[in-house]
């Protein structure tokens, strides 16, 4: 909920709404006179409550884009109210005019923000996977905290460089022989419980994620629950295409966790005569040329 990936825009709008709402609730009379509708102080209290609600939703809802449209709806109500107020005789037309223009500007801003946030929602892919590993929680946590272990089971990671106490630089293979890079930082680290991370500004692909460790019931070891979020270039369509190529991070996540389990339980990633090849290959030993240094031993 308090998603570290929540953009500053969403957070800004959220707190703005709450602030405005508080003003309308705490000082409805003064606010009403100030915008030119001195007789409508009770109505302003309702508007205040609505603003606070929008703000809270903007801060908490997992799809900030949807919440931003709530603000736009509220703006529409405000504009209709202000418009109707122009017709009443007891309103201050000058102040009302300014208020209407201001709300008009805010509406335009809200619509733009809602569009941006919605686009971000649609473009965002969330993947989760859970696996049980027959080792104690401390062992699994310790293994995961050491970034150097990641290349042992993450098939698409080319390299990870530690660049600071909580920072690392990742180079990851992408479809069509490209690589993508980003700088990541650990945002949360609770021993034997949870590790969370996110990519920093300038990442080729925005992404964040978390892993949680729970003791599995009945002495079965550790449950590892991973959640990753990323904004694929090319949006949802791009992600679907990558999926067809077997390169989508969600599928990779599942495969990576299986390999993590193999490494922690048996010592190595388990290979078959077919699995060492990318794509289809008969279940038969590979030719001598496969073992040349130039050939890619992918897993």
């Amino acid at each position: 909920m308090w998603n570290q990936g929540r953009s500053r825009l969403a957070r800004g709008l959220g707190w703005f709404s709450i602030g405005l709402g508080l003003v309308e609730i705490v000082a409805p009379g003064r606010t009403a006179r100030w915008i030119g509708v001195p007789k409508s102080r009770n109505l302003l209290r309702f508007f205040g409550m609505r603003e606070i609600a929008s703000g809270v939703i903007l801060l908490l809802h997992h799809k900030p884009g949807e919440a931003a449209w709530l603000r736009v709806a509220g703006d529409a109500v405000d504009l209709s109210f202000l418009g109707a107020s122009h017709l009443s005789r007891s309103t201050d037309k000058y102040r009302l005019g300014i208020a209407t223009a201001t709300v008009g500007a805010v509406t335009a801003l809200d619509i733009t923000s809602a569009l941006v946030l919605s686009h971000r929602d649609r473009g965002r892919i969330v993947r989760t996977h859970t696996i049980t590993i027959n080792r104690p929680v401390e062992d699994v946590y310790r293994f995961w905290s050491n970034f150097e272990n990641f290349s042992r089971f993450m098939s698409h990671v080319e390299s990870i460089r530690i660049t600071g106490e909580k920072r690392s630089h990742w180079t990851v293979r992408a479809p069509a022989g490209r690589t993508v890079e980003w700088e990541a930082e650990i945002t949360e680290d609770r021993e034997n419980e949870k590790i969370a991370w996110r990519s920093l500004k300038g990442a080729d692909i925005d992404n964040s994620g978390q892993v949680e460790f729970f003791p599995a019931p009945g002495g079965r070891g550790t449950e590892v629950r991973v959640r990753i979020e990323y904004y694929p270039p090319g949006g949802a369509l791009g992600a679907a295409l990558a999926g067809l190529l077997g390169e989508e991070p969600g599928t990779q996540l599942k495969g990576d966790l299986y390999r993590l389990k193999q490494v922690m339980e048996t010592g190595e990633v388990v290979h078959s005569d077919a699995s060492i090849h990318m794509g289809l290959h008969p279940a038969s030993p590979p030719p001598e040329s496969f073992w040349n240094p130039q050939s890619r031993y992918t897993h």
């Binding site: 027959n134 070891g221 048996t266 190595e268 388990v270 699995s275 008969p282 279940a283």
Partner: protein, 390 residues
């Protein structure tokens, strides 16, 4: 090296392929001295199991001599003679620790494929489709054996290959079929299928204390082997109505447990047989469960149906009403071979059983395609073919 490769349904070729190498440090390379053809290999031969690639090496019943061992294999050395179990098990996952070795959680690198079809993946198996790992099989001169420090059993001197080869698959599988029946003193067991699995199931049922074992098949030579070598009472289902015969033989109660050692290519003459074959041909049904249906209907109330015959997908017209209303227990699984290796080796060493009795043909690896055809068509009284690669 030479290897028997699947090139398509009913199309096998013994071709020259590269020698296997160590891929994981717990691997060993085994020079194969004897290897056998399994009834389940016939399902691959006939093209009933998906996820095969032309060029796949077949075979999962093999034994031989260790010629190379990975650096983490501490209990085997070059020159050791070993029999290799057909499921590949790591020994450290929860299922392996529970003794469910054919459910090893780590040995199928293509687990995602099996999950799509079955929900979760079982263990990887030698030479048995990419669904179960894409491992090269043992009908070859050499094989790479993963987790060699956990699976293979070392054989002492004094035993021929044929006496111990069947520890790889058919003997433990037949034994587990009987083991799953939870046999009590006085029990009558009925076994459908008198191939190698059925024959070992019959012998194992007696070993586990059954009073009577009834064997069901349609080939007189197989029924004769069941009667003569395994002391079963034979029933030919083409000559008698099996359900009625079983009722009569058991005082109207029905057998206490029924073993389906037939599986997905069950044969049934007549209209019902054509129904299943027809649906299978147009892919509306992947397996033909005739023996299974009969075993369920024949079993006494409250009894156990032990399903050891191989099924790969979905079946039709399953008598679930009989199962539920009559308190039947169905137990099944790919054999957890590792569980039975030592106990059954001890029984062989103790003279209780000589598994060699099922061998009817010994041929060279080059003759593998002919051997499959003969085994499939039950020609020349064929029960079990052992192939010699060297």
């Amino acid at each position: 090296m030479k290897a028997n490769c699947w090139m398509g349904p009913k199309n096998l070729e013994v071709r020259e392929v590269p020698d296997p190498k160590i891929l994981n440090q717990r691997d060993a390379i085994v020079k194969i001295t004897s290897t056998a053809i399994c009834g389940s290999d016939l399902h691959l031969y006939n093209g009933f199991i998906p996820a095969m690639e032309p060029g796949d090496i077949l075979g999962h019943e093999f034994m031989g001599e260790v010629v190379e061992a990975g650096s983490e294999v501490k209990n085997l050395k070059v020159g050791d003679r070993v029999v290799v179990p057909f499921p590949i098990a790591c020994g450290s996952c929860w299922n392996c620790q529970q003794g469910m070795y054919s459910l090893c959680e780590n040995s199928n690198p293509n687990a995602w494929m099996a999950e799509k079809l079955m929900g979760y993946s079982p263990a990887g198996i030698f030479g048995y489709t990419h669904l179960l790992g894409g491992y090269a099989g043992g009908q070859a001169e050499f094989a790479r054996v993963p987790f060699a420090d956990f699976g293979p059993i070392r054989i002492e001197d004094g035993f021929t290959d044929e006496q111990v080869l069947f520890l790889s698959d058919v003997f433990p599988t037949g034994y587990m079929a009987a083991d799953l029946c939870d046999i009590q003193p006085g029990d009558t067991i009925a076994v459908w299928g008198c191939g190698p699995i059925g024959l070992f199931a019959i012998r194992s049922a007696y070993m586990l204390g059954a009073e009577r074992v009834i064997a069901i098949d349609r080939f007189p030579y197989r029924l004769e082997m069941a009667r003569e070598k395994c002391c079963a009472e034979p029933l030919n289902y083409e000559e008698v109505n099996v359900l009625e015969a079983l009722k009569e033989m058991t005082g109207g109660r029905g057998p206490d447990a029924c073993i389906d050692a037939v599986g997905m290519e069950a044969h049934k003459p007549g209209l019902l047989g054509m129904y299943d074959r027809g649906k299978q041909a147009i892919k509306l049904e992947t397996d033909r469960p005739h023996a299974l249906r009969e075993a369920i209907l024949a079993c006494r109330n409250g009894g156990t149906v032990s399903v050891i015959g191989v099924y790969s997908g979905f079946i039709d017209k399953f008598p679930m009403g009989a199962v539920m209303n009559r308190s039947l227990t169905i137990k099944s699984g790919q054999a957890h071979v590792h569980r039975y290796l030592r106990p059954l080796m001890n029984r062989i060493a103790g003279g209780e059983i000589d598994p060699e009795f099922i061998v009817t043909h010994t041929m060279s690896l080059d003759e593998a395609p002919e051997a499959y055809e003969m085994f499939m068509n039950k020609e020349d009284d064929c029960v079990k073919v052992v192939l010699k690669p060297h």
